[in-house]
Amino acid sequence: MSTKEAKNKATKTAAKTPSKMTGAEIVIKALIDQGVEVIFGYPGGAVLPIYDEIFKNSDKIKHVLVRQEGGALHAAEGYARSTGKVGCALVTSGPGATNAVTGLTDALLDSIPLICITGQVPTFLIGTDAFQEADTTGITRPCTKHNYLIKNADEVAETMHEAFHVARSGRPGPVIIDIPKDIQFAKGTYAPAKPVAQQSYRPKTEPNMAAIEAAVELMAQAKRPVFYTGGGVINAGPEASKLLRELAELTGFPVTSTLMGLGAFPAKDKKWLGMLGMHGTFEANWAMHDCDVMINIGARFDDRVTGRTDKFSPHSYKIHVDIDSSSINKNIPIDIPIVADAGLALKAMIDVWKARGYSADKPALTKWWDQIEGWRAKNCLAYKKDSKIIKPQYALERLRDKMAADPRDGYITTEVGQHQMWAAQFLPFNEPNRWMTSGGLGTMGYGLPAAIGTQIAHPEALVVDIAGEASILMNIQEMSCAVQYKTPVKIFILNNQWMGMVRQWQELLHGERYSNSYTESLPDFVKLAEAYGGVGLRATCVDELDGVIDEMLATDKVTIVDVLVDQKENCFPMIPSGKAHNEMILSPDAAAFDKSLV
C-alpha cells in the first residue's frame, strides 16, 4: 500500500468512525451506554485515567467513594440485589484487586450480577513484579463467572459490553475487567453493544415443554406437594415472584424458601411455611422430609438446606428448575430436570395447568395441610421472654412491628451469624429484592456496605442493617462512606459480646470450650457512631427498646443502635450438620443435643 492510499484509507475510516477515544473514555462511555448510574470504588495509581474521566462525567455517573475496596464490592452487591440491575465497582491494581476477591466470591456464590473494573500495571510491565502488580485474572478465575484482561484499546468497548451481557444473563455472576494503565491512555475505537443474538454466550432460558408437561402432571397427582424456591426466582425479576404467587394460588400447595429466596413469596400468605434448612422452621423442614412431590424453583440443594443428603426427602419425586445445568444432579438426584429461567418455567407451568384443566387432589391436600398445621402448632420459633433482659428475638419482633407501621418501603441487610438467622426467621418479607444477605459465602462485614448500596439505589427507603457486634467491626470503616453520602442507613446491632454462632457451636458441639469467641474491648458503639458523624443509641433493657427504635426511625442520619441482648441465647430450631430434616432440634430439646458429635 502506498503512502497516499494509506492516507486515503485513514481519512475514510476517520469519516466513518467519528474519532478515536482513549481507553478510559471508552470505559466510561460503555458504562453510560449500559445504563450505569452509580459506581462504587476507590482510586489508585493504575486506574487514575478512568478516575479522570469520572471527574469529567460526574453529571452522568455518580461515583461513591468507599473506605476499603471490599466495601465497594458489597455495596455494589446491595445495589444489584435491591434493584435487579448490574452492580458496578472500580478498584486499582494489586491490593485493590485482592481486596475485591471476597466480594467477588460472595457474588459468585449468591449469583449476583457485578462488573468490577480493576486497573492493572502497563502491559509492558506485566510479569515483572511491578509496583502494585497482581495476577488479577489468575487470582479471580475461580471466583468470578468470567474475567478479561484487555491488551488492546480497540477491544475495550466490545469487552465492556460483553462483560455486562455475561454478568446479567443466564445464572448472573461477577465479571472482572482488568485494564492495564497504558490501554487506558491508548486510543481506540468505540463500538456500541452487539445485540444479544450476536453474542457467543447465549444460555438457555426457555424450558423444555415435554419436561414442563411431565412436571405439571406430577404436580396434579401430588398428595403431599411442596414448593421449594430460591434466589433464582428473585434473579428472574419481579414478574417471576408474581408468577410464583399465581401458581401457588392455583394449586394451593405450601411454599418454603431458602435464605436467598425470601420475599419471592409473601410471608403474610397462609401457604408460607417459613424458611427451610439448618435454622429453618419445623414445618418447612418436615414438609420437605415427608413430601411426595418437591418442586424446586431456582434453588441449588445447598448443604445448609439438605442436611444429610442420603436421608434428604427420601420419598419424593423431585422437579428441579434451574438456569444453571450444572446445579442439576449436583448434590441431589433429580427426577424431572428443567433447565430454564425461573420466570419462564413458572409461566409455562401455569399455562399447562390451566390448559389441561388440572386441579389439585383436594382431599389429599386437605390431609397434608392438617399435618402441616400440626407441625406449625409446635411454634418452633418460640423463645422464653424476659421482662428485663432483651432477647434478640424480641428486639427483632419490636423492630418488625415498628417497621410495619412506618410508611417507608423497608429494606433489610444483614451481617453473618445468629442475628442473620434470627432476622430471616422473625422479619417478614412480602416483596422480592427487600432482603440482602450473604448466603453462600457467609461473609461477615457484608451488611453495612450492602446497606449503603441499597440506600443509594433507594434514597427514600428505610434501610436497616441487622448486625452483630463482631460482624459490624469487619467493615465499620464504611460508616465514613455512609456519612459522606448522607445515606441514612440504620445499623441495628444485636450485641451479645460473643461471636454468637461460633459460641453456639462451641457450646453444643465442642464441650463448652469457648475458644476465642468472646470479644473483649469492644468499642463504645454510641461514641463510635458519633465519632463518624452519625447518631448513636443504646438499649440496655426491655423498657428502653421501643423508645430507641422510635428514635432510630425518626432520625435522618446514619444511626448505630447498640442493643444489648441476652448473651447466652441460642438460635433454634437447628438441624446439626450431617443430620436429616426430621432430626432437627427445637429449643427446649437443646439439653438433649447429641454432644458426642464432635
Binding site: 478465575r141 484482561l149 454466550y201 445445568s325 450444572s326 444432579n329 449436583k330 450431617g578 458429635l597
Partner: protein
Amino acid sequence: MTATAKREKKNKSVYGDGPKEIAIETHTLVVMVQNEPGVLARVIGLFTGRGYNIESLTVAETNHEENTSRITIVCSGTPAVIEQIKAQLEQLIPVKRVRDLTVFGPHIERELALIKVAGTGEKRIEALRLADVFRAKPVDSTLESFIFEITGTTEKVDAFIDLMKPLGLVDVSRTGVAAISRGATTHDDK
C-alpha cells in the same frame, strides 16, 4: 470388618461420611473452545478446583478462521462426577461445545509417543525388531541409540514402552489422546 464399616465407626465428624465408593468410569471428552489467552487455565482450574481427575489432555487450534481450539480430555470419575464435569465445562464462557465421545458411540483414539532407547549389540537389534512389529518408526539414530515414533491407542503405546524397558528405555514423550468419532457424522451432530 470391612473398610467402609471401619471408617463409619471412626468418623465422628458432624459432616458425616463422604460418598460411598461407586464404580469409576473413564470418559473421553471433546471440548471445543474459543482460542483465547487463559482458556486452558480455565479448563484445568475447573478440574483442580472441583477435585476432578484428568488422565490426559491434548489441545491445539483446529480452525484458524473461527479461532477454535479442540481439547481432548480423558477423565475418570463416578457417572455422577462425569456428568458434573460436562455440565461445569459447559458453564465456562469460552467453551462452545462439550461432547462425550464415550457416550456418543464408536470413535478412534490415538496417541503419539517418542521413545528413546539406548543400547548396543543384541538388545539394539531386538529393539529395532520389536519396533517393526509395532510399526514404530525410527526417527533418529546414533550407534548406541534409537528414537522411535509410535502412534496408536494408549494401550498399544503402553505395551511398546513396557517392551522397551529391558532393552534400554531412556526417555518417553507422549502427546496424550486425540479422539474423533467414526463415520460421516461429527460430534456436532447430536
